[in-house]
């Protein structure tokens, strides 16, 4: 049974000095954040700093010989190696194709599937299933579907009189094929984010607009779309970053070919580092990719903020 602390000495004993309490709170706070902080330092900041140092060396992984070369690897990439700019161009094409297509499709699906109707859960599951499907299985199935003559896609096109291309063997079509198959695989994730956002918009706004005589398009354009802005921003940033980092899809479906037509930055870094063992050069490329993605993200955030103001 608790005894009330009426005794003066006990009260003094129990009183915690202000500074000490502050300290104690600070210690507790640090203890709470320390697991994530430790993880951040070991698994993110540490490797990032290490990659920056590696990028200023010429280091062969196999021979373990390293020499400090300053900014030479960056100069090589930016001014002496024509492959680099070809790869950057491919990455930009990939992002420019994937981001709008993914977002437009995700929003369309979300608008169609945000309201309850019979079978809505089934349709949501169908569109979300590819997200949780193994990337390897996905790529293998699509490689079969996209065969030239024996592939199901071209056979279906042939039924309607279209002579489909050799999808994965022609550079431009290969890029289009990896973009579309990537969109189909990942669109479910953005769809879920949009559905969640749509469900937070009060129905009153829509009803009020309808009473004012607004059409469906006007309701979407003037009411729903502005209210989706924060979600759109997050989706755009995440999808852009993801499109620059794409590796597995390229590795599994085209290996960067044909004719380097799908050789994107992340795959090029992998080739340089893990096939040719040029760790220094690969690290410089990774730092360039990091800066490019960071700049793009900041620009998107700034543009969006300006837009919202």
């Amino acid at each position: 049974m608790a005894v009330p602390a009426t005794d003066k000495n006990s009260a003094r004993f129990l009183r915690v000095p202000r500074l000490a309490l502050k300290h104690r709170e600070a210690v507790e706070a640090w203890l709470f954040v320390s697991p994530i902080l430790t993880g951040f330092l070991i698994f993110f900041l540490g490797p990032l700093i290490a990659v920056f140092f590696y990028s200023m060396t010429e280091w062969n992984l196999l021979t373990q010989q390293a020499a400090f070369v300053g900014m030479e690897n960056y100069a090589d990439a930016l001014s002496r190696n024509p492959d680099f700019w070809h790869v950057v161009r491919n990455s930009l094409i990939f992002a420019a194709g994937l981001v709008p297509l993914n977002m437009a499709l995700a929003l369309t699906l979300a608008l169609a599937l945000s309201r309850p109707f019979f079978g809505v859960v089934f349709f949501r599951a169908v569109f979300f299933a590819p997200v949780v499907t193994s990337a390897v299985a996905w790529a293998i199935v699509w490689k079969f579907l996209l065969q030239n003559e024996a592939g199901a896609v071209n056979q279906i096109l042939a039924v309607v009189g279209i002579d489909g291309p050799n999808w994965l063997r022609e550079p431009d079509w290969a890029m289009a094929a990896v973009i579309v198959t990537r969109v189909i695989k990942m669109v479910g994730l953005n769809m879920i984010l949009y559905i969640a956002a749509l469900q937070t918009i009060p129905r009153d706004y829509e009803e009020a607009a309808r009473l004012e005589g607004a059409s469906n398009w006007q309701i979407f354009r003037m009411v729903i779309w502005p209210l989706l802005a924060p979600t759109t921003l997050i989706i755009m940033v995440i999808t852009t970053i993801g499109s620059f980092k794409v590796f597995d899809h390229i590795y599994l479906m085209t290996g960067g070919g044909p004719e380097n037509g799908t050789l994107v930055l992340a795959f090029y870094i992998y080739e340089q580092g893990f096939k040719f063992f040029n760790v220094g050069y690969a690290s410089a490329l990774a730092m360039i990719m990091f800066v490019v993605v960071m700049v793009l993200t900041i620009v998107q955030l700034m543009l969006r903020r300006k837009d919202m103001q």
Partner: protein, 417 residues
């Protein structure tokens, strides 16, 4: 109570002590391989078990790394300070690993073992693995590429099979083209020929191009000069190109054939792949590669066992390597991996070693080893292949100018040579 506790603690400590002593005295060698085949691993473990007769405390752990990632993952293990004690390496990685100084010189150890017979390995088979007196690896597989054929599809087309044609001396590149076309016509929806594992347009470029180029008397490169645009190579690749796009008898780029499930009548592969044939469910056989204007020119894929210089148990690893490549064990491995030891290669034991392949066909394998040359390799093989790949992609188009495409291949490869 105290006595009871003591009676439990003392035996536990003793057991712990015994375990520690055991783990200190027992030694384990880690050996990386790329095979995951149960039959191959059972054979390798059997050889490791026989090593215990002389080294009772030594165990060998075979670690499988898939072939596609093998060289890369092995490099990471070496770079990460976690080298295996021994490993297989492929012919295209040999110059790279040799130049990097990561392989142990096995010469002194092997020459010091009485009765080992290092000279039993033919100089041509050892070419990639020696540098003067230094020996960096012992080939365990000197396996020629052979034509695997689907007998049922040949019968359906009313054609003599490649083995019969080879016996009559008629198995050449022209016949190969005729037969492939006839097979495609007789088996609608299927193809006459498929490149190795259906990967001839991407990861197996060399396996697709080198057999015809060698048959025409050409080569990939010689003394630092690219040979892909030499007239012999152009003629050879033009014939392949015609077969793919005019005859439509080779599985074209962008399609999946699969010989092993009956999708193609012929393919090219090594005898280690014969272990997959019982599942195929059709009658099959193997025959030599077709000859060409350059005569018979078998192409060999080679792999060797090496000891890594960073390993902590190098001497013990070298002893195991010597055990694994002694005459008896080479004869055991010959059922899957054709040997470089001449005494085994020339014995009846070799021609009768594989129960899936007849003695007549194994004699063809033996003949190909004697006459063949190993696939081209170079210290900068990964860079050469990467430089070639996009130019070879341009070659595999219906309207490609083969000579120009091969000139572009050489322009890309030459700086790497």
């Amino acid at each position: 109570m105290k006595a009871a506790r003591k009676s439990l603690v003392v035996p536990a400590l003793m057991a712990l002590g015994m375990m520690t002593t055991t783990s200190l005295s027992a030694e384990e060698l880690r050996f990386t391989v790329w095979t995951g085949s149960d039959a191959h691993l059972a054979m390798l473990n059997g050889i490791a078990e026989s090593f215990k007769e002389t080294h009772p405390d030594v165990t060998v752990r075979f670690e499988t790394i898939p072939a596609a990632d093998y060289t890369q993952k092995l490099t990471f293990q070496l770079a990460g300070g976690n080298p295996p004690d021994l490993g297989w390496i492929m012919e295209d990685a040999a110059p790279t690993f040799g130049a990097a100084g990561v392989l142990m010189d096995l010469g002194p150890a092997l020459r010091g073992i009485e009765g080992y017979g290092l000279e039993d390995f033919s100089p041509s088979a050892m070419g990639l693995w020696v540098d003067g007196e230094k020996v960096y690896g012992i080939p365990f597989s000197t396996s020629p590429f052979m034509i695997f054929y689907n007998k049922a599809m040949f019968d359906k087309a009313g054609l003599e099979d490649p083995l019969a044609l080879a016996a009559k001396g008629e198995w050449d590149m022209d016949k190969f083209q005729q037969v492939s076309k006839a097979l495609t016509e007789a088996n609608p929806g299927k193809w006459g020929f498929e490149f190795k594992d259906g990967q001839g347009y991407d990861s197996r470029i060399m396996h697709a191009l080198m057999p015809p180029i060698r048959a025409y008397g050409g080569n990939a490169w010689t003394n630092g000069e690219c040979g892909f645009d030499d007239p012999e190579a152009v003629a050879a690749v033009q014939q392949l190109h015609n077969m793919v796009f005019k005859d439509k008898s080779i599985v074209p780029p962008g399609e999946q054939g699969d010989y092993f499930s009956g999708g193609s009548a012929m393919t090219i592969n090594q005898i280690s792949r014969a272990s997959k044939m019982p599942e195929a469910g059709f009658e099959w056989g193997i025959a030599p590669l077709p000859s060409g204007p350059g005569g018979e020119s078998p192409v060999i894929g080679q792999a060797a066992i090496v000891v890594f210089d960073q390993g902590k148990q190098k001497e013990l690893a070298a002893e195991f390597l010597a055990h694994m490549t002694n005459e008896e064990n080479v004869a055991t491995m010959a059922q899957f991996f054709p040997p470089a030891r001449q005494s085994v290669l020339n014995s009846d034991a070799f021609t009768q070693s594989n129960e899936l392949i007849s003695a007549e066909q194994m004699a063809r394998v033996s003949d190909a080893i004697a006459k063949g040359k190993v696939l081209p390799s170079h210290e900068r093989s990964p860079q050469i292949l990467a430089a070639m790949a996009p130019r070879v992609d341009a070659l595999w188009k219906p309207d490609a100018d083969v000579a120009k495409a091969l000139e572009a291949v050489c322009a890309a490869v030459q700086p790497q040579l």
